[in-house]
Structure formats: C-alpha cells, structure tokens
Amino acid sequence: MLALLPQLLLTGLTIGSIYALVAIGFVIIYNITGILNFAQGEFAMAGAMICAALLGAHVPLVPAAAVAVAGTCLLGALMERLSIEPAFGSQPLTLIIITFGVSMAFRGIALMLWGADPYSLPEFTPGDPLTVLTGVLGRQAMWAIGLSIVVVGALFAFFARTLPGAAVRACADNALASRLVGISPRRMALFAFTVAAGVGAVGGIVIAPITGATYDMGLGLGLKGFVAAVIGGLTNAPAAVLGGYVVGMIESLVTGYLAPGYGSAITFALLLLVLSLQREGLLQTARRRQV
C-alpha cells in the first residue's frame, strides 16, 4: 500500500499543477471583474486542441504552442467583448450563467471542428523518466510542474513590479477610484480574460501529451480548477495554486487507494465542505479582493 504513495503523490502533483493554472485564471478574472468564469477550462481545451491541430499540419512544436497560446488569448478577448461586455452591470448570477453558455458553445464548436476522437501530442522532450523514491516522474510531468511554477512566478512579477500590474491591482481593489485616476475597468476586464485564457492554454498544452486532447477535456479541468480556486479563497492567487495541488493530490490518492471513479465525487464533496465552512469567510474575502 505504502509503496504506491510516492507515485500517487507525483501523479497528484502533475495533474495538480494544471488545476493550479486553471485556478489562477479563475482568480485573475474574479479579482478584476467579480465574475466566476466557467469557460476557464475551455481555454485549456482550446490551447491543447489548436496546438494538436497545428502539429497535425506539420508545424513544429514551439511555433505551434506559441500560436495556440496566442489564439486562445484572442478567444478570451473575444469572449469578453462578445458575451461579458454587452452584459456589463448585470447580476453576478446572470454573468455566471453567460459563462456556462460560452463554455457549452466552445465545447460544441470544438466538436464540430475537430470531432470526438482524442488527439495525442508528443512529449516536449522525449526521454527516460526520473525516479523519485519509488515513484516515476515522466519528463512531461516535469514540464507541467515546472511551467506552472514559471507562469505563477511571471504573473507575480507582473502584478508586483510593473505599472500595468499596479493598474490591475488598483482596479481589483477599488474600481471606482481607479477609474478616477484614468484606469478603465472595462479595459482591465478585457485584459483579465486575455491573460486568463493564455494561462489556461499553457495548462492545456502541457497536460495534453499526458492525458490526450479532446473537445470535452475543458469541463473537468474547469470544474476542478474552480474547486482549487475556492479552496484558496477565490481571491488569493498563491492560495489557489496550493488549492490546485491539494485537489490533484486528493484526486490521485482517492483514485489509488479508495476507489477509482470516485475522484471527482470526493473533489466536489470537498468543495461543499469548504463552501459551508467558509460561508462567512468567503463573503468577507469577496469584499476584500486582491490580486
């Protein structure tokens, strides 16, 4: 039993790093716009599928991945302009339902474009896996964990060290006041969706060589990423990343030790637990948003 543990933890760490990337997207958008974006997982799907389609057309990996991330950023921006911006000022619930609608649309369109069969992506750097204790860590898993850390670090540097980053933080802190000093909340919302889409796309592309890329991979990734973000308190990016690892580990341990197939049920039971424990805390933190 115990011999399995290192392997399960490494698997959890790998899948958790992708949940973390999706969760960061949730947090960025929630902080800046107050919207829970349930199309977040579809960004990961779009990144993976565009990349797979380009590889299928014999484009080398690096330009294919770059185009996939850029294309997904564009999708995020389009989503904001076409579905969120026209409903600006609506109830939070209306906006959430809109994001569910967008995620259904993305999924359906991906099915029309690419069909239901899974696409496989090659590993970024094929080679022998690394052995940690008794567990095996594949090269691609190292890419997943490493890239998630790099992306999180880059976002931190951006928010903490640059002027545009400060503008985003100002907008998250107090939209009215930031408008008075010339920061447009609407432009910030566009920015939030663009960046969140790009982060999601990176997650999708890096996990696709391990799990394959399918038109419906976004639903599960989005919901797990959301649970991770809620565990982290929804407003706190580092906590959301941690939440991503927690969800990944729990899922991996439940699948390995208890019962395969119950992984997502346990994850959502955890969501209900966190929601009911934090019922006051969540409201409190929702008022004090910060990047």
Binding site: L36, L223, S264, L275, R279
Partner: protein, 340 residues
C-alpha cells in the same frame, strides 16, 4: 385569478384535443417529453421566484427516477406507491443539501448545487450493484391504471399532462398567495423581506425542497414511462438544459416555464434533425454549441425571458444610440453601478 383559471381550462381543453388531432406516436412522445421537462422547469421557476438558481436539478430529477425505479423493480412496489415515496426521498435529500447550501450567498449556492449534481451523477455510475452503473437499469415496471397496463405513448400522455396541470395549478396557487408574495419579497431584498417579518430562511428552504420534489416527480414519471434509465440523462448537461428552459420563460414566470420547456424541447428536435445535414461526420452533443449561444443571447438581451422579451426589446432599441457612443456618460454610470 379568474383569468388564470380560464387560461388553465383553455390549456386543459387544448391538451385534450391534441391526441385526436395528431395521434401519431412521435407527436405523443414529443408532448410527453415536453411535459416531463415542464415539471422540472416549473420547479426551477418556483425557485427563481425567490431569486435562487440551482444547477443541481438534474440530480434531483435523476434521484427521483432511480429511487422510484429501484423500489418498483427490485422490491416489487406498485409504481403508484414508489413514485410518491421517491418524491418524498428527494425532498428529504434536498432538505439535507439545503441546510448548509442555503446559507451561502446566491452565487455560491449555485456552485454548491452544481457540486451536488456532479456527486450524485458519479454515484449513479459507481454504485454499480445498485444502479447498474453506466449501462443503467432495464425492465422498469410501467404504470397500471384501473387494471389496464399503460403501453403506448398516448396512454402516458394523459398521465404526464395530468401531472403537469397539477404541478401548474399548485405553482400558480403558491405564487398567487401569501407564500408567493413572501418569495417575491425575498427576490426583491432578503433584508427587506426579513424586516417585514418574513422568515427568509424557512421560505427559501421550503421552495428549494419543493423545486427538488418537482424534479423528483418528473424523474419518477420518466423512469416508468421510458422504462429504462442510465446516468447520462441526469448529468450536469441536463441541469444546464433545464436552466435554459427556465430562463427562456423568464425564470420567475410560471406560464413562461411551460413555454420554455416546449420551446427548448422543440428546438432540440429541430437541431437534432437538421444538424447532421450541415455537419454530416460529427456525432454526439454538438448541439450544445447552439444552446450555449442561445443561453448567452437570452441572458444578455432578455434577462427576464422571451415571453416578456418584447419589453426588453424596446429597451434594447432605445439603448442603441448609447451603445454607439461607448464610453459615454451613460456607460460610465452603469459601470459604476456594477461595481457597487
């Protein structure tokens, strides 16, 4: 109130005429489906009257179906006993879910119901010995009325639409009376309603349990009508589907719920028939693209539903000059309101 009863009587008369006018099995089956969905949607509309939305209705719908099917099939209960028992069970489960979930702020309540929906669906697949797993349950007993076994779609038509009319009547009575006024007050302002002496928590719980019971009843009917159930019609996708039906009708309008169920079911039939001609090589749930876009458009342009959408359309037309000058003073004001 008289107009309401006239409307109900007219609906009942029109429904009674349908089997004579269009007796084909296809039309009857279509109406039965609309009727079953309408009951779930009416539950969502009742919930919407108090300003709440659930993304877990498919779970209650599925629980009703599985509970009634198992009681009738494995324990040999009469469906007329197993169906109310299943509804009671669903109500108890909803109460258990509501205890923690209803304390959450509106958005987080939706997410809690979403979580419940996913957990229930996983259990349907995983509790294989009980539920038959992904392949589902076969040979569910059908209904027997006055010693006669119901077999055709037309037989079930009368049962399903009798249930829809009863559900409609109950929903109408509820929203026309004290409880309905209390729920609308809660929709307006929870704090305001509490200040008027309305027990907000109790009303929210009651309407949540009732909406789950509606879904459970529809599920039980579905199980004994189709006589085969599997987890897939009760997944998250179905909850979104029910939500679309409710928002098409306006989310707080009982008649709108009926309209929404009919409109979306018919749209679904058209899409399923026409889409393969446009995209011949694609199978599966491609129609979600269209529903997603429909959902987004309704939420943007007709947030109070298509039934009352005429009003909104006028507002929309009136708003066009503002929209052209994006960033003008009117825009700035609405943006400020959104952030408050």
């Amino acid at each position: 109130m008289n107009r309401e009863f006239a409307g109900l009587a007219l609906l009942a008369a029109a429904l009674a005429a349908v089997p004579a006018l269009a007796p084909s099995a296809y039309v009857m089956a279509l109406f039965n489906l609309i009727g079953i969905y309408a009951i779930v949607t009416l539950g969502l509309v009742l919930l919407g009257t108090s300003g709440q939305v659930s993304l877990g209705q498919a779970a209650f719908y599925g629980l009703g179906a599985y509970a009634s099917a198992l009681l009738a099939r494995n324990l040999g209960w009469s469906p007329w006993l197993s169906m109310p028992s299943a509804v009671a069970l669903v109500a108890v489960v909803a109460y258990g879910v509501g205890l923690p979930a209803l304390r959450l702020a509106d958005v987080f309540f939706v997410l809690a119901t979403l979580g419940v929906g996913i957990i229930v669906n996983v259990l349907m697949v995983q509790l294989d010995p009980l539920t038959g797993g992904a392949s589902g349950l076969r040979d569910i007993p059908g209904l027997v009325v006055a010693g006669r076994r119901l077999t055709t779609d037309r037989d079930y038509y009368y049962v399903v639409w009798g249930a829809v009319l009863a559900a409609l009547l109950l929903a109408r009575n509820l929203s026309g009376h004290r409880a309905g006024r209390a729920l609308r007050a809660i929709l307006g302002s929870e704090v305001g309603a509490a200040a008027l002496g309305i027990d907000v928590e109790r009303y929210k719980m009651r309407v949540f349990v009732l909406s789950a019971a509606y879904a459970g009843a529809a599920g039980a009917l579905y199980a004994h009508y189709i006589r085969f159930i599997s987890p897939s019609p009760f997944a998250l996708y179905a909850s979104l589907f029910f939500l679309i039906m409710a928002v098409v009708g306006g989310l707080t309008n009982v008649w709108g719920g009926l309209f929404g169920a009919a409109a979306v079911t018919l749209l679904d039939q058209v899409v399923r028939a026409e889409m393969p001609r446009i995209f011949p090589r694609v199978g599966g749930e491609y129609q979600t693209a269209i529903y997603g876009i429909v959902l987004v458009l309704i939420m943007i342009f007709f947030p109070s539903g298509i039934v009352r959408g005429g009003l909104d359309l006028r507002r929309l037309v009136a708003r066009v000059p503002h929209a052209a000058g994006s960033g003008g003073p009117a825009d700035a004001e609405s943006a400020g309101g959104a952030r408050a």
